[in-house]
């Protein structure tokens, strides 16, 4: 007899993989099956018949859609993402380098924003309705209303141009020391932190407040237990699942923020790579990037669900 929690986790992961498969169909279909001739869209209206025919041949557009999809998926499963139309490079190689850069940026943004958001969320919950809470929610409202690139340029204008504290462009390359890299990415990290912090804080606050207002926390207070122990022993174990969910949701949100922030600071990451190739209509690259972004996003969501399944006492100790 398998423990029900293992069954649930396996189910959730299987569902996630199924979703990823559906997404691959969506991405492939979105780029290949939309109305209009893909080759025409890539080369423009002035393309010659010969050029169009060559491109169709090169992209395998003459095969049936199902065959093309299967070949593409088969390639992905074997780590072969194809070659870029614009420069003939192997996509997996280019993408790998840039993906590492993006992860580097996202890692530092997450490493700063997650603890900060949880602490500020706790402060806001602790002083709910009082001035620290109002200040925090006011700032939240402002940052939620700002697109990432606006935050980026304001930060750049103030910190890089007016006060010359940080570099305005975040170039990193292989030979750099870690310190030099960190200095280079300080500004984009700051912007990403600002962008995700508000959401994460607001949702953490709501999750904590929800637990703090529950009857069992009142029971603990009526036992004369110290506030520290009430939070540590009674509130926290029950707040873990919702807070982890909040964190994961916002890390997934970070994935989107990264695209724009990389463009603002000319950072050689995957977002910039994707945007460049969308403009050049380099389909294989766009598809590959789309799949990687989707996989990360779905992966984080699965992780969030699995953690909340594991943290649920009702599932851990079935009747």
């Amino acid at each position: 007899m398998v423990h029900p929690i293992i069954r649930l986790v396996v189910q959730r992961i299987a569902l996630g993989l199924l979703l990823l498969l559906a997404v691959s169909i969506l991405i492939f279909g979105g780029t290949q099956l939309l109305p209009g001739d893909v080759a025409q869209a890539i080369l423009g209206q002035s393309a010659t018949q010969q050029a169009l025919a060559n491109l169709r041949e090169q992209m395998g557009l003459n095969d049936p859609a199902l065959v093309r999809y299967w070949n593409w998926l088969w390639g992905i499963l074997h780590g072969d993402l194809g070659t870029a139309l614009t420069n003939g490079h192997d996509i997996a190689t280019d993408l790998g380098k840039r993906f590492a850069n993006t992860l580097f940026l996202a890692f530092w943004a997450a490493a700063i924003s997650v603890p900060l958001a949880i602490i500020l969320g706790l402060v806001a919950a602790r002083y709910a309705g009082r001035w620290p809470d109002k200040l925090i929610s006011g700032i939240t409202l402002a940052t939620i209303s700002l697109p990432e690139f606006v935050v980026g340029y304001i930060a750049m204008y103030l910190l890089a141009v007016k006060f010359r504290l940080l570099p305005s462009v975040s170039m990193i390359f292989d030979g750099m020391t870690l310190g030099a890299k960190l200095h280079a990415i300080m500004l984009p990290v700051l912007v990403l932190v600002l962008v995700v912090l508000a959401h994460m804080m607001r949702m953490t606050r709501a999750a904590i407040l929800n637990v703090m207002q529950s009857a069992y926390v009142e029971t603990a207070e009526l036992k004369g237990i110290s506030p520290g122990r009430v939070i540590w022993r009674h509130a926290l174990p029950n707040a873990i699942a919702p807070v982890v969910n909040v964190v994961m949701l916002n890390l997934a949100y970070l994935v989107v923020g990264v695209v724009v922030v990389e463009v603002v600071f000319v950072y050689p990451g995957m977002g910039q790579y994707l945007v460049d190739h969308v403009a050049k209509r380099d389909l294989p690259v766009v598809q590959a990037c789309g799949m990687v972004f989707a996989a990360v996003y779905i992966g984080l969501n699965i992780l969030a669900d699995v953690i909340s399944i594991l943290a649920n006492p009702r599932l851990r100790h079935p009747k």
């Binding site: 009526l222 004369g224 022993r233």
Partner: protein
């Protein structure tokens, strides 16, 4: 006389309210309440919702829920003033000298910790015993409270035990630190009636054996009469009267207390059998996607102008029966005859006349009325829909109906949110009546209401029945209500009718086991009832 454990003088409690369309302001919840509680005594606090009884109970721990503040008077616990005590002093007092048993133990236990961890927590935190001593104490209490497998039940998590058991564990949790005072806040209200009696007896015995003083808060006078020495009757935050149990029950001084005592004393003469308006014939039903029958082979009938009470506990299938009769859940087998015709099983294929003549009233009047419609629209719609009444004629008829439910002028343009609980239920009755039905299904229509308000609704229903000759299928879990209004009774248990007949037949011995259990579990408003009922039960189980 020794000094009281708890002594409250002129207590005043206020709260800040935030109405949507007005500036926030303070309201007085409790005003000038005083009480004394001696060691080993139980004081019952009784009143309807809004009486301030829970708020007073929590003031014994100097605790205000939400924005509630103790703004005046004196609260003395074991000779020390605690109303103005600082947080540290209160912490050393709560969970040591005074403990609390909440209405919903299911919500009051932390789902992430074992029962034992929570039961001994206060004892350990206040340094009253070592862990092994505390656990031994807890097991002893579990045994005393009649919990199954007392040695191991502490290893379980809250969701792994039943509601009645959880309520007993919470009582053990309150008694474990050996406090001088326990506050019981409606500890049995959320339980089924047959579970309530055992928990009640366990609590009473535990209070008696440990010699602890207790405040027992409830809205049910019959319950409080069983466990208390004295009773304080509260209304709108003020004391109505205080006295020993016998005086309050046998010789109440105030009109309000008298009304509370005599509630459910409606005397309803049983009507003779007659040709039925509704016949339920061999109905069996289940919900789609499930594999068991919620109802099996139900046969009952109901004469015009009479009341059939369908009584049972939660999960007995009584509300499902209503869904089958109204056509919301087509039965798997059996048929329903109404007015000499066969009703089609499915709602969609019923004629307008069938729909009109069969009306329904719900438990929660709050959600049974569209909050965006005025009373006039709500009652007027059936008039328009079934009889084509419009304009002035409709408005006139709506007013007639409002007069009939004793609400009079000035309500026709109000929204449901502006009405009290009882008024809302009256509007729902008027809406059903507007269709000129032959049968109204009443689904727990009084169980969300305070006893006096419920009493008024029942009297109104009986009056309307006499005027309009309408039949009621009255679904309820409350036997007192059944006795007050039924002509015939069907007792349901696990999807079957276990006993059915006229009121006098059903309520007269010999009983089947379940009906006996049910009848003997309904608290009666007299001293010694609980002991008799428990003794009767022990005898019955010894006889088996």
């Amino acid at each position: 006389m020794p000094d009281p454990i708890l002594s409250i003088r002129n207590l005043k409690i206020e709260a800040t309210v935030y109405p949507p369309d007005a500036p926030p302001h303070d309201v007085v919840i409790v005003d000038g309440v005083s009480l004394d509680l001696q060691k080993g005594k139980v004081l019952g606090l009784i009143g309807e919702s809004g009486a301030g009884k829970s708020t007073i109970g929590l003031s014994a721990m100097s605790y205000g829920r939400g924005g509630v503040r103790l703004t005046g008077g004196e609260v003395m616990l074991n000779g020390r003033e605690i109303r103005l005590a600082n947080a540290k002093a209160l912490r050393s007092l709560r969970g040591r000298e005074v403990t609390y048993v909440a209405q919903s133990a299911a919500a009051a236990f932390n789902p992430a910790l074992t029962l034992m961890d929570q039961v001994v927590e206060a004892t350990l935190r206040h340094g009253l015993a070592t862990r092994s001593e505390a656990e031994a104490r807890a097991v002893k209490l579990f045994r005393k409270l009649g919990l199954p497998d007392p040695d191991n039940i502490g290893k379980r998590y809250p969701h792994q035990v039943s509601g009645g058991q959880l309520q007993r564990v919470m009582t053990a949790m309150a008694l474990c630190p050996e406090p001088s005072l326990v506050v019981f806040d409606e500890p049995t209200t959320a339980l089924d009636v047959t579970t309530q009696i055992d928990v009640l007896a366990a609590i009473k015995e535990a209070i008696h054996d440990t010699g602890v003083a207790a405040l027992y808060i409830t809205h049910d006078l019959a319950v409080v009469a069983q466990v208390s020495d004295d009773i304080m009757v509260l209304r709108n935050g003020k004391t109505v009267e205080t006295g020993v149990v016998r005086q309050i029950i046998d010789d109440p001084h105030e009109d309000y207390t008298r009304a509370l005592v005599s509630v459910r004393s409606i005397d309803h003469e049983e009507k003779a059998k007659a040709e039925p308006v509704l016949r339920v014939d061999g109905v069996t039903a289940r919900y789609s996607g499930t594999s068991f029958d919620v109802l099996s082979d139900i046969n009952v009938d109901l004469a015009p102008g009479q009341t059939l009470a369908v009584v049972g506990e939660s999960g007995s299938g009584k509300s499902t029966l209503a869904r089958v009769i109204t056509g919301l859940l087509p039965p798997r087998a059996g048929s329903i005859h109404f007015n000499g015709r066969d009703l089609t099983p499915d709602l969609k294929s019923r004629t307008k006349t069938d729909l009109r003549e069969l009306q329904m009233i719900y438990q929660m009047a709050d959600v049974a009325m569209n909050p965006r419609q005025t009373v006039g629209t709500i009652i007027g719609r059936p008039l328009e829909f079934y009889f084509g009444l419009r304009g002035e004629a409709k408005r006139k008829r709506v007013q007639e109906l409002l007069d009939q439910i004793e609400m009079g002028k000035g309500y026709i343009d109000r929204y449901p949110a502006e009405l009290s609980g009882g008024q809302k239920q009256r509007v729902c009755i008027a809406r059903a009546l507007a269709a000129k039905p032959r049968l109204i299904i009443c689904d727990e229509v009084t169980s969300a209401l305070d006893p006096l308000v419920a009493d008024g609704i029942l009297r109104l229903l009986l009056e309307l029945q006499a005027q309009e000759n309408v039949a009621y299928l009255f679904i309820t879990h409350d036997l007192a209500t059944v006795k007050a209004i039924a002509d015939s009774i069907a007792v349901m248990f696990k999807g079957k009718v276990v006993r059915y007949g006229s009121k006098s037949e059903v309520l007269a011995p010999p009983f089947d086991d379940y009906t006996d259990l049910l009848l003997s579990s309904v608290p009666e408003m007299r001293l010694g009832w609980l002991e008799e009922a428990i003794a009767g039960r022990r005898m019955a189980s010894a006889g088996n």
